[in-house]
């Protein structure tokens, strides 16, 4: 134990200061025990059904994609409006088992921060959320929601002032308060066991979708699509289809934050993965209209799925995402999160008749940003 090397092929691992290693060991043990404990599973299932609104439905989008069978997995209909709640609730229940009464989180778009603040309100735990000052401006409604839920939002005024620095600030808090605090990381990134833990808590997305698609069509889809920032909705959506070799898995990255498309092997936030970094290993800045995708790293399992060829990753520009945002809203009456709009944007590019898209969140939080961008277009 403790000498955890890379977990997903050459990716993953535990590149963190010694201070955190015992807490990661403790978390691994608690997670293994929880997985074996039927009471943990049934508590999560119960919360999913009675609090989150699971199972989330699938919706066929005939006007968005006429003449094809395109289904949306509606994680936007979850309580708090995104898939993030699946992970936040799971980890908060786990923190309760560990006896940790203080919860910290990082957030980019604010969806993970809201989900974590929500779970903490539900369980009566103290909650501190780190958020880059730039993201606090462009996702202002989520800042208000977190504060209303009783969380303290700590602005991060350093470096890019976005998700990368928020994550570093949360890890530094954890190093300082590790004995009382659990760090609810928001994506399938970070040191082991986090990538695996988050993937398993998000696997409910794909498990439900696979069953629902089989029931609706009697067959599995040709292609499954999801957006990838850190990659948690994608890894959760992909999980149930990994063994279905005929199902193509497509992850969509923001073109200015394409860690898998244009990154290199590097170490960031405790794991070796594919990262936007220069030849010296210094981390580069990412750029995306979507705060949730604006991150120079990605979960190590995605890097491994790319290398093995099981999944493919394609870029999507801000403009393409905005088009999809506007089109889904007008044609289906569904306002998607800008993150999810990246996944929707590539549906037209995909040469397949039957496609499942993870609609990872709703777009209410993005209205100001999206409207300003749409209005400033020529």
């Amino acid at each position: 134990m403790t000498a955890i090397e890379e977990t997903f092929g050459p990716y993953g691992g535990r590149y963190v200061p010694e201070t955190l290693i015992p807490a990661l060991d403790e978390l691994s043990e608690a997670w293994e025990a929880a997985k074996r404990d039927p009471a943990f599973r049934s508590e999560l299932d119960e919360l999913g059904r009675t609090y989150v609104g699971r199972p989330s439905p699938i919706t066929r989008a005939d006007r968005f994609a006429p003449g094809r069978r395109v289904y949306l997995k509606r994680e936007d209909l979850n309580h708090t409006g995104a898939h993030k709640i699946n992970n936040a609730l799971g980890q908060v229940v786990l923190a309760n088992r560990l006896g940790k009464r203080r919860i910290i989180a990082e957030t980019g778009a604010g969806q993970h921060g809201v989900a974590t603040a929500t779970a903490c309100a539900r369980f009566g735990l103290e909650c501190v959320v780190y958020m880059g000052a730039v993201d606090m401006r462009r996702q202002a409604p989520n800042v208000e929601r977190m504060r209303l839920l009783g969380a303290t939002v700590e602005p991060v005024e350093y470096g890019t002032r976005t998700l990368k620095e928020a994550t570093s600030a949360a890890i530094r808090d954890w190093i300082t308060n590790v004995e009382t605090t659990h760090y609810v990381i928001g994506s399938c990134v970070g040191p082991a066991p986090y990538p695996e833990l988050v993937a398993e808590l998000q696997a409910v997305i794909g498990l439900e979708a696979r069953g629902q698609l089989l029931e609706a069509e009697g067959a599995l889809p040709d292609v499954v699509v999801a957006c990838v920032g850190g990659g948690s909705n994608a890894i959760g959506m992909f999980a149930a289809f990994l063994d279905d070799a005929a199902v193509r898995l497509v992850g969509v990255e923001a073109a200015g934050a394409a860690s898998l498309g244009t990154g290199r092997a590097a170490v960031l936030h405790g794991a070796r993965s594919s990262v936007l970094a220069d030849e010296d290993g210094q981390i580069a800045d990412a750029h995306s209209i979507s705060a949730g995708l604006d991150y120079p790293g990605v979960g190590p399992e995605h890097a491994w799925l790319r290398d093995t060829g099981r999944a493919e990753y394609v870029p999507c520009t801000d403009d393409e995402a905005l088009d999809a945002f506007a089109r889904l809203t007008r044609l289906e009456g569904i306002i998607p999160a800008l993150e999810s709009a990246h996944a929707l944007a590539v549906v037209d590019r995909i040469d397949a008749e039957y496609v499942a898209v993870c609609l990872s969140g709703r777009g209410d939080k993005d209205l100001a940003e999206a409207l300003a961008a749409l209005q400033s277009r020529p």
């Binding site: 000498a3 590149y15 200061p17």
Partner: protein
Amino acid sequence: MRKALVVYLVCEPETPELARAAVEAGADMIELGFPFSDPLADGPVIQRATERALARGMRTAQCLDCLAETRALVGDVPLVPMTYAALLEAYGWERFAADAEARGATSLIVSDVPAGIRPGLRRVHLVAPTSTDERLRLAASTTDGWLYLVTVTGTTGPRTTLSSALEGLVERVRPHADGIPLYAGFGISTPEQAAAAASLADGVAVGSRPVQVAEDGPDALAAYVASLRAALDCVA
């Protein structure tokens, strides 16, 4: 026995001269910080110094040059590059260790590669108040020459008082560290704190304060280091 004084400086063009001043004022070892864009173990002072060094172009090649220039000025005083995994990953783990050694490094410290990971890389391990006895044993048995005792549960940076955790950590690690010197760091900045830490450990490491003082030049750094040296010599 003389208590060891380890002084940390971030690699910048002025660093070789600063290191010489520190050594002449009584430093026994110099840690040379190779800056990384996302230094998770560091507090605000070293974060800012890191950001500035990177803006001045202090990448791995320049830092290795800085190491060689420092070596030329300080005789056989131990020099230990201190950095993060990302730099070694990019440069090549073995190549980094070999090139650092060729340029005059005595050993390495990699803040985010704890004992047990990358066992082939010879380096000084850090242990922390949270380390289990099993991990203290592993770190002590695989460290390169001495053990770095992190006195606080936290990141680098000055504190108002010496951490009470150091005493317990020294007691727990001593039985595993037969003949291996224990140097305490993180949160030590004043002569009083240095003396108190050295009464428990075999030496102290200071980082954030010398990085701040060095902004005023070699004389200011020498005066600060001399004040620490005097305090430590009273303990010995």
